[in-house]
Symmetry: C2
Subunit: 337 residues, 2 copies
Amino acid sequence: MIPDGILVLMGPIEVEELATRIRAGSVRALARGLSWIEAGGERAEALSEELYPDTRGAHVVGVTGAPGAGKSTLVGALAREARQRGASVGVLTVDPSSPFTGGAILGDRIRMNDLANDPGVFIRSMATRGAMGGLCAAAGAAVDLLSAARRDLVVLETVGVGQDEVDVMRLAHSTVVVSVRGLGDDSQALKAGIIEIADIHVVNKADREGADRTLAELRSLLAMDRGSSGAWRPPILRSVATRQEGVSALLDAIDQHFKDLKTSGQLHARERRIAQSRVLQHAQTLVAQTLKQPIARDDDAVEAQIDRVARRELSPYRCARALLRRASAGERTPFHV
Amino acid sequence: MIPDGILVLMGPIEVEELATRIRAGSVRALARGLSWIEAGGERAEALSEELYPDTRGAHVVGVTGAPGAGKSTLVGALAREARQRGASVGVLTVDPSSPFTGGAILGDRIRMNDLANDPGVFIRSMATRGAMGGLCAAAGAAVDLLSAARRDLVVLETVGVGQDEVDVMRLAHSTVVVSVRGLGDDSQALKAGIIEIADIHVVNKADREGADRTLAELRSLLAMDRGSSGAWRPPILRSVATRQEGVSALLDAIDQHFKDLKTSGQLHARERRIAQSRVLQHAQTLVAQTLKQPIARDDDAVEAQIDRVARRELSPYRCARALLRRASAGERTPFHV
C-alpha cells in the first residue's frame, strides 16, 4: 500500500503511475482517477485502457428502483454487511437526470456518512450527462477503476428508473430491483423493463402497510414471466434497510446469483453482454463528441459538412458515414485491431 | 399526378422509380416509401438519399405534450384548418414507448377518421423502437419523404413526453407544446426540457376548470426564461380542439414563427440544428446496427471482438473505434465525402 500522502505533493501525474497506484489500492489515486474519468477525453481513455486488463474479479451489482424506495439506505446497509464479511466495497451512484436531483445525491452521501471513515468502503456519485451525454460510458469506466482497485463488491446505484437507468444496469453482473408499496404507480412499460432486468427483487420498507400487497403483485408479475433464459429464478426478498433487517439475506442472494452465473456457465454470456454495452456506449459517445466538439486543427470541416446537409447538398446518410470515419480515427494515432 | 392504380399492379419497384412517383404526389407511392423507411436497411437509405435534395420547402411542425393533453385531436383540428387554407398536410405520429401504448395510436387514428378520405391529408404512425432503437433516424427520413411529396405542412406528433420525444422535436422547424391543467404533475426536469424546446405554447381543453391556472403557471415559467436566443417570444395560446376553437389562431402563430425564422435569418441556424440531429441519430443508428446485426459475410468478426473485450484481451475503447470504422464502411461500396 503506497502512502496516500505522497500523491498530494506530486506535480502532474502520468497515466501509468496513477494506474500503478490504483492497482496498489491507494484511495486517493482512485479518487483522482475517477475525476479523470468524469472529465473525459484522451487522458481518461488512456487510464481506462491501461487498467482494463485488471478489471476481472469484482462482482458488479446494480441497484435500481423508483425514487423513494430507500435504495441508498439499502446500499449503505449492504456495504456494512459486506464489510462485516471482510469484503472491500466500492459504491457508485449514477444520476442521469442531474443536476435537477442533485439534492438527492447529497442526501445519499449523508446517509452513508458512518461508512465514510472506513477505507474499505469507497463511495462516489456521478452525474455528467450535461457534459457529453456519455454517462453510461463514464459509469462503465468508473466501474473498471473500482474493479482494478480490487474492490470485491462494486455497487452501481441509480437514483431513478428509466431508459438511462436500465442502460446503466446493463453494466452489472447482478441487478437488484428495489420496490416499495405502490408498484401500480409506475407505467406498464417501466414495469416490463424492470421485470426484464431484475436478477433479485427486494421489497424495502417491508414493515410498512402495503408491503404484502407489493410482494403479491411482484409474485404474480414474475409468474407471468416464464420465458427468461437460464435456470435462475429471481427471488423476491423483503428488507427494512434502516434497521439492517433482511440485508444479510439479500447479500446471500447476491452472492448466490454470482455463484450461479459461474457454475451455470452464464457468467461469460453476462460479461459478453456487458462488453457489448460498453462498446456500444463508448462508440456512441465518441460519435457525439466528434460531432459536438470538433478537433481544433480542422474544426471547420465538421461544421462545414453539417452546413452542406442543411443546404441539401449532402445527405445525412453520407455525412453520418463520414462522421463515423472521423470518430474512428480519434484524436490519437489510429490503432488497428 | 400518376394514377395510383398502376403501382399496385407492378412487381418489384426500383428506388428511382418510387422516388419519381413520390415527387409527383402519389399517395400510394408515399405510403410504400414510408413502409420502406420503417423496415430500414439499404433500400430505405437509398430512397432517402435520392429524395433528400427535394426536401426543402415544407414547414415541419412538432407537437408534443403530456399524454391526455388532447394532442391528436389538436393535430386533427390543425390539419382541417390548414386544408381550409389550401395547404397539403402530412401527419406523422411517433411513439417511442410503443408497443405499450399501441392503443393510443389506434385511438388517434380513429379521431382523425373524417380526414381519411381527403388525399390532401396524409396520416401515418411510426413505432419502431423495438427494431433498431433508430426511431428518431426513421422519423427524420419519414419527414423527408413527406416533404419531398410536397406536403406544405408536415406535423410531427409524439404520444408522450420524455427524452426520446425531445429528440424527435429536434427534427422540427417549429415546436408546439400542448399543456392541459396540472402542469405540476410533471417533474421539474421534464418541465425544463419542455420550456427549452417550445416555440409556441397552447393550453388545450381551455374550457375546463384549472386552465387559467395552467396559463398563469406557464406565464411565470416563461418569465424566468430570459436567456433564449433570438427575438421570438413563445406565445401562450388556448384552444378547445374538440370544438375547433383557438385552432385558427394557433395556425396563425405557427405560420408567424416560420416567417419569423425566415426574416430573422434564424431559419438556416434551425436547419443546421436539424441537420446535426439527423446526422448524429443516423450515425448512432448505424453503430447500433453494426453491433447488433453483423454483416452476413463475416459476422463472426464483430462477435469475436466482443468476446475478446469480455475476456479483457481488448479494451472497449479499441473495440469501439474498430466498430466505428466498420459502421462507416457500411454494407455498400464506401463513398468519400
